[in-house]
Point group: C3
Chain length 360, copies 3
Amino acid sequence: MTASPRQPPGARATRALVELAALVDGVVVGDGSVLISGVAGLEQAGPGHLSFYGNQKYKRQLLESKASAVLVGRDDDVSALTVSSVRVANPHLAFARIAQEFVRQVRVPPGVAVGAFVHPGATIDSTASVLAGATISEGAVIKARAVIGAGSFVGERVVIGDDTRLVANVSVLDDCLVGARCLLHPGVVIGADGFGFAFDGEQGQHVKIPQTGSVRIEDDVEIGANSCVDRATTGETVVGHGSKIDNLVQVGHNSLIGPLSILCAQVGLSGTSVLGTGVVLAGQVGIAGHLKVGDLARVAAQSGVISDVADGATVMGSPSLPHREHLRIQAASRLLPALQKTLKALTRRLEALEQKSTKP
Amino acid sequence: MTASPRQPPGARATRALVELAALVDGVVVGDGSVLISGVAGLEQAGPGHLSFYGNQKYKRQLLESKASAVLVGRDDDVSALTVSSVRVANPHLAFARIAQEFVRQVRVPPGVAVGAFVHPGATIDSTASVLAGATISEGAVIKARAVIGAGSFVGERVVIGDDTRLVANVSVLDDCLVGARCLLHPGVVIGADGFGFAFDGEQGQHVKIPQTGSVRIEDDVEIGANSCVDRATTGETVVGHGSKIDNLVQVGHNSLIGPLSILCAQVGLSGTSVLGTGVVLAGQVGIAGHLKVGDLARVAAQSGVISDVADGATVMGSPSLPHREHLRIQAASRLLPALQKTLKALTRRLEALEQKSTKP
Amino acid sequence: MTASPRQPPGARATRALVELAALVDGVVVGDGSVLISGVAGLEQAGPGHLSFYGNQKYKRQLLESKASAVLVGRDDDVSALTVSSVRVANPHLAFARIAQEFVRQVRVPPGVAVGAFVHPGATIDSTASVLAGATISEGAVIKARAVIGAGSFVGERVVIGDDTRLVANVSVLDDCLVGARCLLHPGVVIGADGFGFAFDGEQGQHVKIPQTGSVRIEDDVEIGANSCVDRATTGETVVGHGSKIDNLVQVGHNSLIGPLSILCAQVGLSGTSVLGTGVVLAGQVGIAGHLKVGDLARVAAQSGVISDVADGATVMGSPSLPHREHLRIQAASRLLPALQKTLKALTRRLEALEQKSTKP
């Protein structure tokens, strides 16, 4: 079995460059008959590889690359390039599309493997796979072509959608729903209890607020290794369709993540965070509770958001500010020691003047 | 099996509001005969639900809620409310208490499930449950009504206390002790080696310091998904009774966490941290090694603590400062660009005066 | 089975102090015939224990320790010490070496345990152990004396080197290589997909960039609980020999970590980070993508690195700066509110002078 689609270890199909260019509305510059056997980054590429040039910063890497051909932007100056290139609107996107052409889709054999534990009250589609060491609880539904990887746990009444894969050692707890074509990497935990307690001063204890809600992961969501999406206190925690979550991310109870959002590694959402559509949170960002981050908003790495973020805004810092303001303050901060000196000198000069002016 | 107590999927018991009010020393305002079938937050609640109003910030949500009744504070102005209410000292706490009335306690069948692996030298109470894919090692003791969830690993000589639940895929390594009524969410790791090495410059290697201590989790502790409590180098790492730890938290070797403390998601404690009673660390806080955080101290989110924190103090920032001082500095920082301009203008004015004064 | 080497629960071998001193080129001060039965930190030590004194900060603990003997530096003043001591060049390193003398090496019985699932196309060395609930996939190779702990998943064509231990619930995905004498703590995930997507604005979706590379963990690497090392997009993500990674660390795709580096808990490396030899990243550090951190560079806790770090440099802050500059700015920041006041007073004095000077 495989954790992800992968290039075959042995021989690969080769394709003519011109044929690949057609898939991405590209215009070949140079020899279109070059045979391409795979894709790779500029620095990793060798003969037979198609690479891409998406950022002027990598001009040197472009010129030193051993790739046989490169995807470039419509207006990039690639006159110094000695290999063929393909002009496209978005080299990075074209690279992604073409890369998928070279992926061997490994099919896991359908059925329940020896060493998997399936409750008789669970429903497993005949095309789905349940691998060794996985447990499927009563009332769970595993849909077509879904793969429940080794050591994964699927709780009661959970639904796992078509073509979704729990790679290995994933836990999806009771009553949670996972949509179609999702990819949950190892160690992902869906539906652990939200973190909610009320302190009882008389008895000297934190009284647990029962977490009786659930989690709904919509279609086409990817969740990185060891990330956690907590169950709602009541109602649902939702990850919207097409959103992508990196490793070690915490999604607090009752959070609502809109579609097509991107949460980079080690981001933490407190409870009841509301993220719009296409939000991007860079690595290690923290969002305080009960806040709204608007559509297409972007939050820079390590920021701490403690107030709502407007649609389309870019914020930065801890606590976060509009990024231009933050950068101005940051630049000013670097001058602080100098500013202190200036101020001292000024004070001395002022004293001198004052003394002078009091003298007759 | 269930990962946590949960409301029954089908019919629920209903209770009269006046009866629930009595459980929490509450005074009904309005109709006490209203039937309540469950609890929910103000925004999630529907007919038949009891909700709570704990913060003036949510006045709008209170008035728009579809709940059939609401727990409110003794002095809250709820004249605009059209449904029944119950006056209590602490609405949040009362909500927690009443919510537990509606939780169906799912009993996992006792015994060792098919597909669980129990060493003959382990002791499993006859009322305890060991689920499929779990492994119990030699000398381990699983006490009354404890549940060892699917795919969990319990090492040699580990003791798991009465009524404690390891939800799924939890690892408790050799010689660690977990008290009674604890709840360990999926992916929790208790007793991984502390991070300790001594560099040997001659041999060019980091020499491992054997981590021969253990971990003791006291009673009534909850630990969130994928959190880690490391084994002591020698002696014990301790999590005090009634403390609650959220997801993805790191507790370094030889840390001592006092009772009733709260560690929010993604907090990191370096080795030999000492936390008092009732400490609250907000999300993503880091505590440097060998520090003491006093009783009832509070540390704001994303703070970095690099010196001891006094009892009852609230600190903030990285490095952390008393929170008032931090807020003052933060406010001043926002004015820095303006301050720079002021200083420049001042300098010019001073120069003008100086020139004037030197002129005869 | 045991997760790590551990002192025997019952009787231990005792050794004369003079004999232990010889192992570390130490000079005994006092009685060399004292019998030592184990090692412990100054505060945890009791009679029969050898401890160490590595930092002047712990003088009080040294004098109050109940240890029977202490390792001290060649030039430490220990005249107040009433027990025997051993003078060595590096007490911490000597402690590590001697501690290993008291560790009982628990041998896990070789072979495939009942309840482990090994594909017939996998190769398991006859001296290796595969424990209950572990899955070994087709083409995987498990080398001599390696231990694949309970509930671990080993993907296709993975190679696990001699004497390497996957403690429990570890996932090593297809095609990844783990060297000899490595220690992977519970919940570690090697080879989850790198986080790479290209946005397709027309179709409104994030298109996955297939992650077809792999991960190579070199010899003598330790990786802490629930840490993740992502698979390269193409090529390899590499963790260099002898590097040590703490818990909950994220290593992004295509990162290259040089040998003998130290990554503390909750560190995050973005994709394509390059770390030199002997780099030290303190807790919760974040490294932005495509950066180079030079040999022996050190990054302080919670720092955010957004530009290359030179060999041997120490940086601090978010964004990080040379640590002296950062400390200067930080000190100046604390004076900001005072500085604002000074500036106001100065302005008033200047105004007074100006008025005076304009008067005839």
